[in-house]
Subunit: 144 residues, 2 copies
């Protein structure tokens, strides 16, 4: 299937010379935790709420005077649109990240996939499996 | 089963009069996105990296001069240690939150459960189910 079907499309984007404050304003408006940094239709980086905390606040940078290009992750991890769902999940967990830009071969970005998007897509499954696991741990499981 | 078995134990905590910067330093050290705000062994609130972005940076507050008590969520959503896993997941998704302090009846806090803790606990299940779902969507599913 297509990751774009469950991702945030179109992705929230800013230019590299946008300020951290502009990126934060966009994340607040869109209710998301990451923006793609795009220059001339090409993905240059990703900037997240964790970067706001660790690379701006913790480092005493001024959000109005710091450009996202100074504090973004570049190049970012990305995924093609046809990456299988289980691989996308594995990738997010392995890399300890929450967002994955969906890109084409030319470096254009078509969506932003979040861990939450994946979860919400399969919440019915998840709840049934967690219920089973809980019963198992309560009755028979190790240390149950 | 016990949520404490998969939660972050002991939970990272700060006092209500700690500064935002102190809370950020603790989150950075522990590699987490939320701290519990505790006063006299009682849970008073929760403060997260999203709060750093939306309630501090976006509002032009000074991280060194703002107390967490001014910008925390209080009272926080909480869960008892024996809440079933599926209920905990449902709760996190419904409330659109990522962290859940595990508390006893006296208001003491014993751990901090994150969405990531739940996911990592059941990653084997998840990958198999996502793989099946992906196959289904590719072959027979709606719009496949």
């Amino acid at each position: 299937m297509s990751l774009q079907k469950i991702a945030h499309v179109p992705p929230p984007t800013v230019g590299p010379s946008a300020s951290v404050m502009e990126a934060v304003e966009l994340m607040a408006e869109e209710g998301v935790g990451a923006v793609a940094v795009v220059d001339k239709d090409e993905l240059r980086g990703i900037f997240t709420e964790r970067d706001v905390m660790l690379r701006v606040v913790l480092k005493n940078r001024n959000p109005a005077q710091t450009r996202v290009s100074e504090v973004m992750t570049s190049p970012p991890q990305t995924a093609p649109d046809d990456m299988p769902l289980d691989e996308a999940l594995n990738f997010l967990l392995d890399k300890h990240i929450r967002h994955l830009p969906i890109v084409d071969r030319e470096g254009g970005i078509h969506g932003m996939l979040s861990l939450r998007n994946l979860l919400e897509h399969m919440v019915g499954y998840l709840q049934r499996e967690l219920h089973s696991l809980d019963q198992y741990m309560a009755n028979d499981g190790p240390g149950g």
